[in-house]
């Protein structure tokens, strides 16, 4: 019977480890090649503290958790400056360095001989020294770890993690400081892995560096992938199946001599073929069924306001310009690439509730100006003011808190998330996006979530996508994705919106719908809009005032019709020589 308990214990221990890696791999989409080492940190902390200091196992576990979390956070820091592939490099390096340290720092780790005689876990004089006694303790610890993971996954924090996985730049454009999310989830992941490691140390009572090799790290990765990335139950599935196979292999006669190699071959092939035939794993993230979205009262699941005849209320019309304070002002922004001046001393002003156009031929510097103004590119000179306050050079996510948000020409919805989540993730200042408040203020988080839910549905109604709320955004048509992006942008509650060619590649019906919608949000939602647009008909229909750009300079400003009537500008625009 002890043997059955033993296997159960291994499965649960690995399930904790796998869930901790799932947080990184499944939700943030970043691969850690050094996860065994995190559990190693936990195991060595547990062993050293219980042997040398004689403290309760919970102390060692806590120390391991904190230590491992700090290391995890440090490992995620380079992603501030470099792409995610570097994290593979750094985690492989981390794995090798710490493994080497375990082998060579004999004074601390006793080298490859390992540390024997780790006392069993003990609480109030009860010693968890046999598999049967250890099992309940492990189940409790496992439940705690899984509850923590569940709380994080199904929270505003977890939603942002998925958004980062789908598109990090788009997440930053919604006001999310993606680096801090990554650092925190790496820390949490490292910490949970250390918990599994410390439990293992007390259970087996012996640890050596060879329990934390790169092969073990790969083994954990295979479990994550097999069970199903970003599925809450995937880790249990993955751990159970692979541990089951490992144990079953022991019963193959004469296997002992080649069992390790056979195991490796098996796992390697599983990983390889899984990626070809079922990359989503056994339990996929999204089940085939549509997620049902229940609608609160007052919302009708028919086509939304965008298509409804209800017309614009009598609100004060767009300003006449000069006698008002500009809400956003760009002063003399410049940018050179090498010798080329992409933008030279460009200035423009946006007035509240105006739709302002920015037009010009291809390559005239519109996009560069646009990117500098919303923080996605550094400028060589010049300044940006929001309501008179200088915001030049602020990171995109900080600009959102100043009230400035952008859309993308290539739409960039979070394809692997539901339409509803796409909009909900954009909601500003969420308590539940703070990993600590998430646990300390569950009531506030729940209240905000109800508000978010309602607000998101309202925006979806506005763009006419209420009936698609439960579908994956990636399954929608291009036109629908553009509408999702608009709803998502509105959900940031920013008063100033930069729209980057919102009508590009749309058929005529969708085009009219989007034009109508833009008018609607400017007036009814009182937004100030800067529209970068190629389609002159769209500009004429929407915009009272446009800036005309060519070769990095703003050549003229005024009514679009007048601008286009100017033969010199028309020549520049249409490239007639």
């Amino acid at each position: 019977m002890d043997y059955v308990y033993h296997i159960l214990i291994l499965v649960i221990m690995y399930a904790i480890l796998v869930q901790s890696l799932n947080l990184i791999m499944g939700y943030v989409g970043v691969i850690s090649m050094g996860h065994a080492v995190f559990s190693g940190i936990g195991a060595y902390s547990a062993a050293l503290i219980s042997i040398h200091l004689g403290y309760n196992f919970l102390v060692g576990m806590a120390v391991g958790f904190v230590f491992s979390a700090i290391v995890g956070a440090l490992l995620a820091l380079p992603s501030l400056r470099v792409r995610d592939e570097y994290l593979i490099v750094f985690t492989v390096g981390f794995q090798m360095v710490v493994f080497e340290f375990m082998l060579t720092a004999r004074g601390i780790t006793q080298g490859q001989a390992g540390i024997p005689g780790i006392p069993p876990a003990e609480i109030w004089g009860i010693s968890f020294d046999t598999p049967l006694r250890f099992l309940p303790l492990l189940v409790i610890m496992g439940l705690i770890c899984f509850a923590v993971a569940r709380r994080v996954i199904y929270s505003p924090f977890g939603r942002v993690l998925k958004a980062i996985r789908e598109d990090e730049s788009a997440s930053r454009a919604l006001g999310k400081n993606t680096l801090s999310f990554k650092v925190l989830v790496f820390a949490l992941s490292g910490g949970l892995a250390a918990v599994a490691g410390s439990l293992m140390a007390h259970y087996i009572s012996f640890i050596s560096p060879f329990s934390f090799t790169i092969e073990v790290s790969v083994f954990i990765i295979v479990m994550v992938v097999l069970g199903g990335e970003a599925n809450f139950w995937g880790p249990i599935m993955g751990a159970a199946i692979l541990m089951g196979i490992t144990e079953a292999l022991r019963f193959v006669p004469g296997a002992s001599s080649y069992i390790d190699a056979a195991r490796e071959i098996f796992y390697g092939l599983i990983l390889m073929f899984l990626m070809i035939f079922r990359p989503q794993g056994i339990l996929p993230e999204h089940s085939k069924r549509l997620r049902r979205v229940s609608l609160p009262e007052g919302l009708l699941s028919k086509e939304g306001a965008a298509a409804s005849p209800e017309r614009v209320r009598d609100v004060p019309g767009p300003s006449d310009g000069e006698n008002q304070e500009p809400i956003l002002e760009i002063q003399g922004l410049s940018k050179s690439f090498g010798g080329l001046r992409a933008v030279a001393d460009a200035s423009l002003k946006l007035y509240p509730r105006d739709i302002t156009g920015l037009i010009g031929p291809n390559g005239c510097g519109k996009t560069t100006l646009f990117n500098m103004a919303n923080g996605f590119m550094d400028s060589d000179g010049g300044a940006v003011y929001v309501r008179g306050k200088a915001v030049t050079g602020l990171a995109p996510y900080k600009l959102v808190t100043q009230g400035l948000a952008r859309s993308w020409q290539d739409v960039r919805v979070f394809k692997g998330m539901t339409v509803l989540d796409n909009v909900m993730v954009a909601r500003p200042s969420q308590t539940g996006e703070n990993l600590f408040l998430l646990f300390s203020h569950p009531g506030r988080v729940a209240r905000e979530e109800r508000e978010n839910y309602r607000a998101a549905l309202e925006y979806l109604q506005l763009v006419g996508l209420l009936d698609k709320a439960g579908q994956l955004a990636g399954s929608l048509s291009n036109a629908e994705q553009k509408l999702v992006a608009i709803a998502r942008l509105l959900a940031t509650e920013c008063p100033i919106l930069f729209l980057d060619e919102p009508t590009a590649a749309l058929d005529i019906d969708s085009l009219e719908r989007v034009i109508h919608l833009i008018q609607e949000i400017a007036v009814r939602k009182e937004k100030t809009i800067l529209l970068v647009e190629h389609n002159l008909d769209v500009v004429r229909g929407l915009v009272k005032k446009a800036y005309f750009m060519s070769e990095g300079k703003i050549l003229a400003e005024g009514e679009p019709a007048k601008l286009m009537a100017d033969p010199k500008l028309a020549e520049v625009y249409f490239g007639i020589d």
């Binding site: 592939e85 593979i88 360095v97 390697g268 990983l271 990626m275």
Partner: protein, 288 residues
């Protein structure tokens, strides 16, 4: 004199890492695939050389070409049968990486199963110890430095001067444009895998000549090769060579103060510092 000896050792390691760096670099720069199975190519090439000279008594020069051929065949097969399929499926970079990781894990274990963990050495090479004053080195060391640097030089020359070299660089810089020009991307990839794997096979032969072949022999050279690529800057093959060279020298000079076990930490430390100061790498350009 210890310093002179370490400098010579540094030169030997540095040449080897420079070669390792460009082999993975040309593949990564062109295909953007995190080709983890590169380590297996190294191991297979090393075993081919060792087994052919010991078991079949082949002349070591003949074994050299056989191990070169084995490396090219394996590298190209991985691209043609695994990566191409994944590309056609629209697999993400992470998916391709994991698949490659799986193949490398299985492959290494198969070698372990077939040949056990006992090291195999290469026979028939006229190994001699030479001296220059108080500094000692072997004929294998000379071969390693000469052939590594020659290979790196030829590769850089090929990429700069030859028509096909320019094609490869164009594909790495702008895939869309290359496709619009009517280039067969799959063919270009195959050529790149042949070059990268072949040269890593050369490196494996030189490694086996100097040391021995064993199942996990590929891991460390592979680690150094991709560290060199990220250190040097993804876009610059010359940067990969330079970074490999610096890693090799630093590892040996570092031994003056640190014990040999810490060579990974030195490489890792250099990479960390460089990325903090210049995230695009030593010779890398900002875009990409």
């Amino acid at each position: 004199m210890l310093t002179a000896q370490l400098l010579i050792q540094g030169l030997i390691t540095a040449s080897f890492y420079a070669l390792a760096g460009v082999t993975w670099g040309i593949i990564y720069r062109t295909t953007l695939t995190f080709h983890f199975s590169h380590q297996l190519v190294f191991t297979v090439a090393g075993y081919t050389a060792a087994l052919l000279t010991t078991e079949l008594g082949l002349h070591f020069l003949l074994a050299f070409f056989c191990s070169l051929a084995a490396a090219i065949a394996l590298g190209c097969s991985i691209d043609a049968f695994l990566y191409r399929k994944l590309r056609e499926m629209g697999a993400t970079k992470a998916t391709t990486f994991l698949s490659s990781l799986g193949f490398a894990t299985a492959g290494t274990a198969i070698i372990l199963l077939l040949f056990s963990s006992n090291p195999r050495s290469l026979k028939g090479f006229p190994a001699k110890t030479l001296s220059l004053g108080d500094v000692f080195f072997t004929t294998a060391d000379v071969a390693m430095v000469a052939i590594s640097l020659l290979s790196v030089g030829l590769l850089l020359l090929f990429l700069r001067k030859s028509r096909y070299g320019k094609v490869i660089r164009a594909v790495g810089s702008n895939r869309e444009m290359a496709r619009n020009l009517g280039l067969d991307i799959n063919k270009v990839y195959l050529v790149v895998y042949a070059i990268g794997s072949g040269l890593f096979g050369v490196a494996a032969f030189l490694f086996t000549l100097k040391n021995v072949a064993y199942p996990t022999m590929g891991i460390f050279p592979f680690f150094m090769s991709f560290t060199a690529v990220f250190l040097g800057g993804i876009n610059s093959i010359a940067g990969h060579a330079l970074a490999g060279f610096i890693l090799g020298m630093a590892e040996n000079i570092g031994m003056i103060i640190l014990p040999g076990e810490y060579k990974i930490m030195i490489a890792y430390g250099i990479l960390f510092i460089v990325i903090l100061i210049k995230p695009e790498g030593l010779l890398g350009s900002k875009r990409g």
